[in-house]
Every structure is written in structure tokens, then in C-alpha cells.
């Protein structure tokens, strides 16, 4: 697939977006009644389900208990039907473990864990359909789920991937772009303060371009946060309407 033209001379990407445009984001909160918090989020064709349990007391080995704050436990998995070719192992492989770790780090930075000492918060994320930007979709879905669970956070955590093609940063890569040999960068941001919760890049990039790339990623994340904010407000309206009656 090396011959794909990721950015046309007219400035269009493969799917008709311009360089800075995000994919369409749709989300719903409170999709499950059993869990403490849950959310479903679509970003283009990448679809993720996030479920949050807790805070509750430590389960399993008590030795991991922290005395000043809560432990965040994350699990990332991909549905076997999420990719074009059926996936053998939904979770537990190296990639998923790494992703779980990244999610954990992200949310440890965002959730106000010191409010719940000696307890545990479980975040389970499942990718139902994968079309690029899995990490960022998971973070966004999990944010909504945590909010749904009523766990206090410093800010929304919004994540977005950006790639670098022909000296132009492309926001929110889809699968075709990710696999087309673009050096991409994933960034999780607390938009109000502009703090970076996680920054991940494992491709080669010239140092001079890093700044522009991060800049573009932050703008994209702020765009995502606006959408998430809308979703949360709308959800609250619906809920308050229901409870109000």
C-alpha cells in the first residue's frame, strides 16, 4: 500500500477530509445499567465501549493497596471481529498490555485519586471496530465513562493522533493513513490547563517538526474536548429531565 497519496495536491486526504479536520465523533453515556459508569464512542469507524467500576475496595491482592490514593486498574481489549481479518486473541497480548498500561498512566494523571485512598477504580475498554487511532478513542470513551461513574477528574482527558505528511500535520488518522507509513504521534491532553497527560511516538521524525506536530495535536484535542463536553451536557439534560419528572 506504499503508493497511496495521503494528501492530494488540493489538500484532501483519502477520505475527503482536510488536514486539520477530525473524523465524525458520536458518543453516548450510560449505556449499561449494571456498571457504575459506561460510555460508547465512535470516532469515524473506530468504535469503542468503556465501562467503569468503582471506586470500590481492593479486590485480589491487597498488597497493591495505596494508602494515600486509589489504584486505577485498566484493561484494554479488542473484539475478535474488530479488524478486517479475525483477531485470534482479544486481550493479553503484548500490544494490548502496553495499551492498558498507557491508559492507566493517562487516567492516573487525570482522576483525582487522592480522594479515594485504599480503593480501586476499574476501567475496561473494548474496541468493537478498529479503524485507526485506537488509543485516542479509548481514552475519549473512558473519559466519558469515568464522568458517567461520577468520579471527579481534574479535566476531561482528550486524546488524538496526528501524523506528518508532506510537511503538513494531519489530525486524527484513520487506519489507511496509519498503515501508510506516516510517522504518527498520540497525545492525551487536559485541555483547560493545556497539560499533557501522555505523549507517545515511536516513529522517526525530524526534531524541527516536533513542535508543529504537538501544536496540531493540541488543537485537535481541544476540538475533541468540545465534542465531549457537548455530549456530557446533553446527557445531563436528558438525565435531569428523566429524574425531574
Amino acid at each position: 500500500m506504499a503508493g497511496l497519496e495521503l494528501l492530494s495536491d488540493q489538500g484532501y486526504r483519502l477520505d475527503g477530509r482536510k488536514a486539520t479536520e477530525l473524523r465524525k465523533v458520536q458518543a453516548r453515556m450510560g449505556v449499561f445499567a449494571q456498571a457504575d459508569g459506561s460510555a460508547y464512542l465512535e470516532q469515524g469507524n473506530t468504535k469503542a465501549l468503556a465501562v467503569v467500576y468503582g471506586p470500590h475496595e481492593m479486590r485480589g491482592s491487597r498488597s497493591r493497596t495505596l494508602h494515600d490514593r486509589a489504584v486505577i486498574n485498566c484493561q484494554y481489549s479488542m473484539a475478535t471481529f474488530s479488524t478486517a481479518e479475525r483477531k485470534r486473541r482479544p486481550h493479553g497480548d503484548r500490544k494490548s498490555t502496553e495499551m492498558s498500561l498507557h491508559l492507566k498512566q493517562t487516567f492516573e494523571a487525570a482522576v483525582m485519586t487522592q480522594l479515594y485512598p485504599r480503593s480501586q477504580i476499574d476501567i475496561y475498554v473494548k474496541i468493537l471496530q478498529s479503524d485507526g487511532g485506537n488509543y485516542s478513542v479509548c481514552v475519549n470513551a473512558a473519559t466519558l465513562a469515568v464522568i458517567d461513574a461520577g468520579i471527579p477528574m481534574r479535566d476531561y482527558v482528550c486524546a488524538c493522533t496526528v501524523g506528518f505528511v508532506d510537511e503538513t500535520p494531519l489530525a486524527d488518522l484513520c487506519y489507511a493513513e496509519e498503515s501508510g507509513g506516516v510517522s504518527s504521534l498520540a497525545l492525551a491532553l487536559l485541555p483547560r490547563g493545556g497539560q499533557i497527560a501522555l505523549l507517545q511516538m515511536d516513529a522517526r521524525l525530524h526534531q524541527d517538526h516536533l513542535e508543529t506536530l504537538i501544536e496540531a495535536a493540541m488543537t485537535a484535542c481541544k476540538g475533541v474536548s468540545k465534542v465531549l463536553d457537548d455530549v456530557v451536557r446533553q446527557h445531563l439534560q436528558e438525565v435531569s429531565m428523566l429524574t425531574g419528572e
Binding site: M1, D9, Q10, D15, K24, N45, E85, D131, C174
Partner: protein, 1048 residues
Amino acid sequence: MIKTERILHLKSSRGRKVRVVREHYLRERVPCYSGVCQADCENDGKVLSGDLTHYMVPDAGVVVDYLEILEFRELQGIVFTQTACQAVQHSKGRRQYNRLRNLLKDPRHDCVLFANEFQEYSYCPREKGESQEKWQTRSECVYNAAVWYYNHLAGMMDIVMITEDQEAVAQYSSLNSGVYVISVQDYFQNFWPDLQAAHELYTSISQSLQEKESEGKEREYGEHLPAEVLEAGIKSGRYFQGTLNVSKHRAQTEAYIMMESFSNKSTDMTSILVHGEKNRNRAVHGDVVVAELLPKSEWRGKVTALMEGQGEVKSGEDKLLPTGCIVGIQQRNWRDYVVTFPLRDGTQSQSRNSQRILAVPWDHRIPKIRISTQQADTLQDHRVVVRIDSWESTSLYPNGHSVRVLGRAGELETEVQTILIENCIHVPVFSDAQLREMPVISPEKPWEVDPVEVTKRRDLRQSHLVFSIDPKGCEDVDDTLSVRSLAGGDLVELGVHIADVTHFVTEGSLTDLEARTRATTYYLADRRYDMLPAVLSADLCSLLGGVDRYAMSVLWELNTHTLAVNKVWYGRTVIRSSFQLQYELAQALLNGEQTEVPELAQLGSEERSVKLAQLIQALEMLTRVARHLRAQRDRGGALELEGVEVRAQLDEERNITALVPRQPLEVHETVAECMIYANHWVAHKIQKTFPHQSLLRRHPPPRQEFFSQLVETAQAKGFTINTETNKALADSLDRAVDPEDPLVNRLLRMMTTQAMSQALYFSTGAQSPDPFYHYGLALDKYTHFTSPIRRYADIVVHRLLTAAIATETGAGAGKAPASNKELEEIAHHINSRNRAAKRAQKLSTELFQCLYFKDRDAQKDPCCVANAIIYTVRDDGVLAFVPEYGVKAPVYIKNREGQVLVAAQDGSCEWQSGSVRRYADRITTTSGCGTSTFRLFDHITVRISVQSFRCHASRLNLELISNMPCHSTKPQEQHSQGRVQLVQEVVRLAEEAYQQAQEEARRRSKFCKEEREFCQTKTPNLYTLLEEVRELALRDLEPAPQVCATTA
């Protein structure tokens, strides 16, 4: 953010059929790039002009098959749809798609891309079960786009959609949507009845398309392997990738694959032999191919015989070359080819009904091309430009179509055009739009310097005595010099002032684009194709005497005694050249001879002598400085490649035409030295400011193996040539002088020049600093700065220098005008164009040599008998050089019947049956009458005749008539004369020849006019040209003894 998500795409990847879903976003506002847009589209960049009668929208099928026609610059207002572009990408591959992209980017073509698939209302989704190709070629997609376009422009512009699909024409023309749907043929007949070339191209393409459908099934060649297999094979070292280079002399059987990258160090092969057509497997000269090695038992040796048909391989085991067969082709490098249609005879008449013809390309290395045409009879003796379309494994020959007719074979104009096309030189007349960018000048309102501009520049008009030294009749004076004393004589200020072309040619303008495409001025034997329009090259940028001109200057302050550089100043200036001298005149002034300077003719005698004294003083000072610079370069870089390198360099510096090597007066060297100095310092400056983004020129040291022939040849004469460093080489060349035969040294120097690698432009970011070195000039950094009128590289360097100066003064942002990547691309382009220019020049010289001998009877005319010298020995003949005409050609000692040449007592040779033996330095023939030996550097007498071919370029044929030199040649006598006399003789001869040439040129132009008016024959015109060639060839001989004398 307005976004809608719509569509699912089906796609298979990596062999397995996989269903992939892709998003597709549509939007309401897609820029239309039209000049008459009413809806405020964001049309940045290229916009279709609004004053046309209609816009044309070709459908996908038309764009795929007939893109060539759409490339005509006359066609305006073309709207390419995205659907069509993608169809090209899918069905024709990247090369064709890039061509389309360049077309869209090029501001000289009036065409735009409309992204119809991203427009909400013009998008038409793929239906279930419909294949990708079908969907793309479905005319509905493009039709919808055309309708939207029409409505978007509110009906202000008629839209014509052209298609080859007759159903679509029938279906849509009845709908009343404002869009006309017609077929391609109708379109060209109705809208462009005058564009004959397009009509012809259309018929030729459509015919070849029809033929393609009725292809046979028989397999002639092996199938090519798929790209993934090739890639994997190359990585594992099983296959080898390289460029196919077909042998010129044995095009049928021999080809070599030149490996560009030494990816696997274990095998130190540089080339692979490909023997025979089957092994070559449809690859054409120049393609990037992938080959597999054959088992060692099938390896073959190189054929060293001169004649075809004698290719028995006699060489031993050690001479076997790695031999392989081609398994795949990475990239086709097909260009336009010139072909000649074969004569109609019995064998062709069978295929008359299919109208297919095997045309023979002009270039030997290209296989015959099958063309379908109805004009075969009328175009029998014509040269025609064709393009190759495809080469299926079922076909013995590639299929092609004709593009245009050049003219009758053998005519001068046709042959010159052939040379241009075969070297991919495209030099159309400058268009109106380009000329409109030029300042208007007329006799009533001559161009003047702008006073505002003058304030920004340093004014040297009053303070400096500026003069130029050029050959006679030079129009484009791009360099001038100045020299003066400063600070009471302690300092000398040397100045080199170069025409400021970049002031007139702004980056990105149409003129700039055209100049970049041409990259250089092309000099052919009888004409030249300018890089810049004549307004600039001959007037505004030409630093003529007595008028104000903008210049780019480099001024050095040198210490008068030590001549060490004190200070250097670079910058833009205004100058007025006081003297426009010629070389001969300048030399005469230096020698203290009484001559008339035309600029001083009107002045009073007193004033005249004052001015004259000033000028002479300046010239003397200049000569002193130049001598010092030269000596400095000799000491520091240790180089004395005189005769070869410096003369070649002189040529490069200031050549007017290569047919006229200048007489080596000292003033030549003086000017050249100043130019080299300026180039060197500018190279320093730009490289210092932009270490990674400057354009320099390097001359890599030659590969030692290329010298082997030179060393062996020299050994035959008892000379040893040391090739370790440039200094050693130069010294040993100086020593290799045969006092009895000055030609030996000249031949050796010629062979040295051949062994040299070519100097190249490059971007500094792409190389490590070591190879910046210029071998020939022995300078660590070098660039081209002094001839911006005829070289694009100099324009780039001028821009770099301007940016560097701006950085220094703090005015600019300190950013390089072009990135390393862009520069590297430019450098690559210029290098390839320079090679093409050189080749074209060489070919045209050969053409003229052939034309010269063509009309002469080889048996009677004394001109056809000439003295020659043997410089290489082959299996069945020798290679000889004819100094009188500068011709190099093979001389056969053994002919096709197996007879050999044996010399009689008096030296005359005749054919007898016998045998030939070849040794390292000689070749002997034995027959019943005795033995004769031909040694290296033997003087022989040859008869020159022309061997003409119908389809290829004619060739000069040398026939050995005696193994003694013929004694009547003029140059031989001259060699014995004293040096001073010789110089005078040479100058006189050159003058005469030049005047004669001038006169003839004048006569010629008159003839041309008459010819146009009265349709006269071309013969007298041609004759004068050829006479001129002869004169020039005569003069070519003179420098040799002189060079020897000066170095001795």
C-alpha cells in the same frame, strides 16, 4: 465542522480478499477553481480563465486513454474530475498519474482538478456488486460533476463533456441539463478544427487501442514476476536491480544492467550481461529492471570484434561476465522515439489489411515498434515521433502509436529535430504569456534603469572602469571585469560583474519555469536554443558597452604586492561597461600593438590616448592578478592539466559553440581565471551561509580502471602515465611528448579527458563535505555563477547569493530559498539536461560531418582522403582519429568475406585472403604476399565516405588506403614552423575563417528568406553550412601544437 459520513468501500489487500470499510466525507463547498465563480469559492492557486467559450470535462475513459491529447497547451479550460484522475492512477500506474499531476500543477496549462467525489451533490456512490473499474468509468459520475459545475457557475459558462461511450452520448444529450455530451472526435472537429496535430494523435491512439483488443494469444516471452516477489528477491540478494543499457553496436544481442546501488557488498559486480532478446524479456533501453543470474555454464564473454556477424566468442574463461535474464521491470522509462516506416514490399503487403507496420527506431538500441496507421504509404520516407503503449508477453514487438510527423528523412531540419527529440529536448517558442512578463522595450522608449532600484544598489558607473572581453559577435555578454588601485596603490580592487538575471526573472514566474525546464541554452552545430527570451539574453541582461545595466558583483581587495585577499564584497550593483573588447583586440593591446578601439574612435586624440592608457593599464594589472591566481591554484591544488582540463574548462566557462575552440591567447586564460575565482568565492559564501542548502558543482576523481586503456596505449609508445593524483597525472602527461609526432600527446590527452568523470551539480545537504572537491580545477568548493543567461544553475546560485547577502545584513529571514530536497531535484534535472545538451551537440556535429561528405565522391574528391592516426587496436580492425576533420571511426582490417588488408611496398593497401592476429599494441595481417603490421600511433591514410542508413543516422566510413601518411597535408608543414609565426598564422586563419563564416551566415540567412518565399532548393544553403563546418574543423587542429609548445 460540517461533516457527513457515507460510504463503505470494498477492498482487497495483501493477496487475501478482505473487506475493508473506509469512511468518505462529503462537503457542500468544494472549490471550483473557475474565474467566473459566483459563489465565492476559496480558489487559491490556479484558476481557469473566465473568457472562454466553454469548459471541457473529459470522462474517465478519455483521460485514461487520451491524456496525451489533453496535454496540448492550446486546449484551454479543462476540468479534470477526481474520478478520472483516480481511474488514471489505478489503470495506468504512477508514472502516468504523475504526468497528470504535473499537468495540473503547471501554470502554463489551463486546467484544474475538481474534487467531485467530495462534493455532496456531485458524488455518486458505487452500487452494490459494481466493480471499481466499472464504477469509475461509469459516465454518470463525471456527468453529475459536469452538471453540478454548470449549475455552480449559474449557467454562465457552457460545459462540454467528452466521452468515448456512445451510449452515454445518446442517453445524456437528450436530457436538458445545460451540459453538452459529445464524443471526442466530434469535440475536436467542432471546437478545434484547426488543431491538426490533435486530430492526428486522436486517430493514431484510437487505432492502436482497437488493435490492442485483437491481440494474439501466443506467448513470446516469459511473464514478469509481480512486484512483491521482485522486492523480496532483491532484498534476499537473489535478484539484482539496475538500469538496462543496450549495447550500441550489438543492439540485438547484447545489453548490460548497470547496478546503481552496491546493496550487497559480497558481490562486487557492477554490471550484468543480458544476452539475446528472450533473456531481455521486453525490457527497453533505459528501463529499471530486475534480473536473475544464469548458471555459470551459460555465462558469456564480451565481443571485441568491430564487425557484427563476427561475434564468435574467443575470449577465455577469465573474461566471462556474469550473465543473467530479466525477470521483471520496476519502472518503464519510455520516452518519445523517432522512427522511420519501412519501405513497402512483398513481406509487408500481407499485413496490409491489418494496417500494422513495424517501424524502425532511429536509435539502434530500441526494438522495432508496431504501429497501426493508414498513412504508411504517404509517410514512407518520413521520420515520425512515436510512443510505446504496451508490450504484452504475447507479442514479439511493442505496440505504439504515432504522435507527429517530423519530415522527410535526410533533410537537415528533420534530422536536427530528430536529434532534439531523441535527447528529450523540448524547446517550444516562448509563449505570449511568457513574453508578457518581459519589460516592454521599443526604439522610441528604450529600457532605462529605475532610479528607485538604483538607490538599493551600489553604483559603480562613475567609480569603476568596467569592460568585457568576449569572442567576436557575442550577443549575450554575461560577465564584465574591472580592476583599479586603491589606497594610493597599496591595494588592488578586482571586480567581476555578472548580469543580474534574477532581477528580471522572478522565482516561479512563467519565464523562470520555462528556463528551469530548459536548464541550459542548447548549442547545436548550426543554431542555438536560448534558455531565456531574446529580450533578456541579448539586451536587458547583456552587459553591453555604454549602457546602464544591473549586475551582481564580487569585488576583492587584494594587496598590491603579495596579492593576498584583504576583503571581499558581494552585492547588487549598477554598472556601465566602457569597453566591449574582443579577445584578439585585448591581446593586441597587451602586446603593445597599435590597434583601433572602436569605443574611442570618435574622441579627440588627446583624450583617446589617456583613455587608452587607462585601459591598457587595467588590462595589464588584470593579467598580473590572473597569473598570480593561476600560480596560486597550481601550488595549492597542484594542478596542471593544461590542454585537456583547462581547455575543457574554458569551454565550460564560456563556450559559444564547441565547434570553435578558441585560440589559446593569454587573455583567454586571464578571463577564465577571474571567472573561476569568482565562482570559487561565491561557492564559499553560499556554502558558509547555507551549509545544507546550496548548489555547488563537484568533479569527482576518475575511477582508476578507466585509465587502464590510457596507460596501456601510452606504454606502446614507451611512456608511463601515473594516474594516482591529478598532479601526477598532469606531470606525466606533460612528459609524454613525442618530439616527432605532436599528435601523440594530443591523443593521450583526449583519452584522459574521456576517462574523466563528469562534473556534476549537487546540493550540499545531500553529500558529505569530502566529495565537494573539484578534481579538474583542484578547488575545494566550486559552483557556477558567471553565466546566468545560459545556465539555470547560475540563476539558482544568484538567488542563493542574494539570500546570503540579505541574511548578512539582517534584512532577510536567513532562510534558504530552496530546501535541500528541492535543490537536489533541480541539480539532478540540470545535470541530465546538460548531458542531453552535450549529446545533442555531439550528434549534430556528426550530422554535419556526414552531410559534408555526403555530396562528395569518395573516389575522386581529394577532400575525402585524409591522414589518420591509430589509437586503439581491436580484433579485426583499428580505431583511427582523423585530425583534419576531428573524426573518430573504426577502420576494418578484415572484411565480411574474410579478406584482410595487406600493405604493398609503397604503402598502398589491398584486400587479399589471409588471416589477422591481434597483439596488445599492434595488429598484423598475413597473406600470400607477405605480412603487414599496424601499430598504435601509426599514421595511415584513409578515405572517408558516408555510409547512410534509411532509418538511422548516417555514419562516416573510413577505408584504409595506405599505411603511410599522405604527405600533402597542410598541418604537417606548419608544425615545423616557428612558434611565433604559427600563432600569427593561426590567428590569421581563424580570422579569415571567421569572416568567411560570418559572410556565409549572412548569405545563408538571405537564402533562408528566399527559400521561404520562392520555395527554392536547399542545396546552396546547405553547402555554405558545410563549408563552414569544414573551416571550423580545419581550425580545430591548430591548438594542439601550441599547447604542447607552451607546456614544454
